[in-house]
C-alpha cells in the first residue's frame, strides 16, 4: 500500500513565515476593521479639534447645498410660469373706453385667442393700488398715468415659442395697441438668471470642494507628523507603503463622511429657518407653489462626494509626506 504523499515546503531553516492566503485575507479584513475603529478613536481623542475641522468642512459643503436648493426651486417656479404664455396689450393712451372695449370685442373673435379680458385705465389703477403698495403715492397724482390693457390668453397652439412671438408681433401691429408684451420675455430673463446662478453654484462647489480637500490634507499632514515614530518603526519591521497609508486614508474618509452628514444637517437646519418667511412669501403670491426641500438623494450624494474628497485629501497628504519618512 502506497504511503500518502505529503507535500512539504522547501526547507527554510528555523523559519515558518509562510502565511496562508486564507489567513492573509482574513487578517487583511481584520486589519481594515481595526484601522477603521482606530481612526474613529483618534477623532475622539481630540474631540474639540476634530469638531472644529469637521465644522469648517461642513460649512464649506453646506453652502453649495443651500444654493442648489434655492436654484432648483427657482427652476420649478420658472417652469410653472412658462406654461401661461400670456400677452399684455397696452393700448394707446388717447383711446377712450368705448374704443378699447370695441377693440377687445374684435380680438375676441380671433381664432388665435382663447380668452381675453379688458382692463380700463381705472380698473388697472385700482388693481395696481391694491397689489403694489404704492396706493398713497398714486393718490397724489392728478391724472391716471396707466393705459388701458387687454390681457390675451392665446389658444393652446400659440402658447409656445415661436408661435407666441409671432402672435405678439401681430397683435402689436394692430391699430390702437401701443405695445404688446409677452410674459415669456420675463421667463426668458429669469431662466438666464437661473443659468447664471447654476454656473456660480458650480464654480463655488468646485472651489469649496477644493477647500475641503485642502483642509483634510492639512489635518492628515499633522497626523502624519504626530505619528512619525510609528511610521518609522512600521517601515523598519517590513510594513509596505499600503500598510502605512491605510490608517491615514481611513482618517480622511471619516472626516469626509462625518462632515458630509454634518453639512446635510446644516442644510436642513438652514431650510427650516427659512421655511417660515418663504411660506409667507409664497402665500402672498397666492401660488400653489410648494417649495422643494433637500431630499435623501441629494443628501446621500453630498455625503458620498464629501467622503470622496476626504479620501482624496488624505491621499494627497500621504503621497506628499510619507515618502519623506524613511528609517535612517
Amino acid at each position: 500500500m502506497a504511503e500518502p504523499t505529503v507535500k512539504r515546503p522547501a526547507p527554510q531553516g528555523a523559519s515558518s513565515q509562510r502565511v496562508s492566503w486564507q489567513d492573509r485575507g482574513r487578517s487583511y479584513l481584520h486589519h481594515h476593521r481595526q484601522v477603521a475603529a482606530e481612526s474613529l478613536r483618534r477623532l475622539r481623542t481630540a474631540p474639540l479639534n476634530s469638531l472644529m475641522t469637521l465644522l469648517v468642512m461642513a460649512i464649506a459643503l453646506s453652502l453649495p447645498g443651500l444654493l442648489y436648493v434655492g436654484l432648483s426651486n427657482a427652476q420649478s417656479l420658472s417652469h410653472q410660469w412658462q406654461g401661461e404664455g400670456q400677452i399684455s396689450l397696452y393700448l394707446q393712451p388717447g383711446l377712450d373706453s368705448a374704443a378699447g372695449e370695441d377693440l377687445a370685442q374684435q380680438l375676441r373673435a380671433n381664432a388665435q385667442v382663447e380668452t381675453l379680458s379688458y382692463l380700463s385705465p381705472d380698473d388697472a389703477l385700482a388693481e395696481f393700488q391694491q397689489f403694489s403698495g404704492f396706493g398713497e403715492a398714486l393718490d397724489q397724482l392728478q391724472a391716471n398715468p396707466l393705459p388701458a390693457v387687454i390681457l390675451v390668453t392665446p389658444s393652446p397652439e400659440y402658447r409656445r415659442q415661436p408661435a407666441l412671438e409671432q402672435l405678439r408681433q401681430l397683435l402689436g401691429s394692430v391699430d390702437g395697441v401701443a405695445e404688446a408684451q409677452s410674459d415669456q420675455a420675463w421667463v426668458a430673463r429669469l431662466n438666464q438668471i437661473i443659468a447664471l446662478g447654476e454656473r456660480i453654484t458650480g464654480l463655488l462647489a468646485v472651489l469649496l470642494a477644493t477647500a475641503v480637500v485642502l483642509v483634510v490634507g492639512n489635518t492628515i499632514r499633522l497626523e502624519i507628523e504626530n505619528r512619525r515614530e510609528e511610521i518609522l518603526v512600521v517601515k523598519l519591521v517590513g510594513g509596505t507603503d499600503a500598510f502605512v497609508r491605510r490608517p491615514f486614508l481611513y482618517s480622511g474618509f471619516c472626516y469626509g463622511l462625518f462632515s458630509g452628514v454634518l453639512a446635510w444637517g446644516l442644510i436642513l437646519a438652514g431650510l427650516w429657518l427659512l421655511s417660515e418667511p418663504v411660506g409667507a412669501l409664497v402665500s402672498l403670491y397666492e401660488g400653489s407653489f410648494a417649495p422643494a426641500g433637500f431630499g435623501p438623494l441629494p443628501g446621500l450624494v453630498l455625503v458620498f462626494i464629501s467622503a470622496l474628497m476626504g479620501v482624496l485629501g488624505a491621499w494627497i497628504a500621504v503621497v506628499r509626506h510619507l515618502h519623506a519618512i524613511e528609517p535612517r
Binding site: R26, V237, G238, D241
Partner: protein
Amino acid sequence: MIEFDNVSLRYPNGFEALSQVDLRLARGEMAFLTGHSGAGKSSLLKLIMLMERPSQGQLRVNGQNLNRMPARKIPFHRRKIGVIHQNHQLLFDRTAFDNVALPLLIAGYERDAIGRRVRAALAKVGLLEKEKFNPIQLSSGEQQRVGIARAIVNKPQLLLADEPTGNLDPRLSAEIMGLFHQFNQVGVTVLVASHDLALISRLPHRVITLQKGRVHHG
C-alpha cells in the same frame, strides 16, 4: 547568508562609511562586529536591511542580490530579518504585547496565531507576565528584551543587533548575549555589532573588526 563583495558606502556629503568591504557570514553562523564608534558598524547593518544602498560592490543576503532589489520589495526583505536596535525603537502608545505583535500584523497573521506567537516570544525573553505593560513602565533591560521579542516573533533566519547592550549593566548584557547564543543554537544566523570587547571575548564566536570603514581581520 551574508556576502559582501568589495562593498563601499559613500554618503551624499562625501563621507565614506565603508570601503571595499569583503565579508562572508555562513548560514547558521554567529559573529560579532566590533570597532570604534564611527568605524562603520551601523552602516554595515543598514546595508543588510536596505536602509542604505551600496555605492559600489555587490551585496547578497540569503542568496538575493540587494543591489537590484526594487523599492517595493524592500518591506518583504525586511520581514525576513529580525533587527534589534540600540534605542530599541519601541512604540510607547501601546502595550509590550502590541509592540511585539506589530511584525505579525504587518505580515498578515491571523489573530489567534498572533496571540500564540507573541506569547511564545515574550516567554522566550522572560517577559510573559508583563505583556500588558506599556514599555515606559519597564526597565531599560526589559525594554531591550521586548525589542528582542519583536525581532524574533516572526522567526527570522537572520538576526541583526546594533549595540544591543549599549545601555545595560554587565549582568544584563551577559543575559542578552546569552539569548542571542540560544537563538544561534537553533539555527538562526546572528550578527551582533558591539564594542563591549570584554563580553565578546568570553563567547566562542568569530569577531569581525572594522576600522575606518575597512575590515581589519575576520
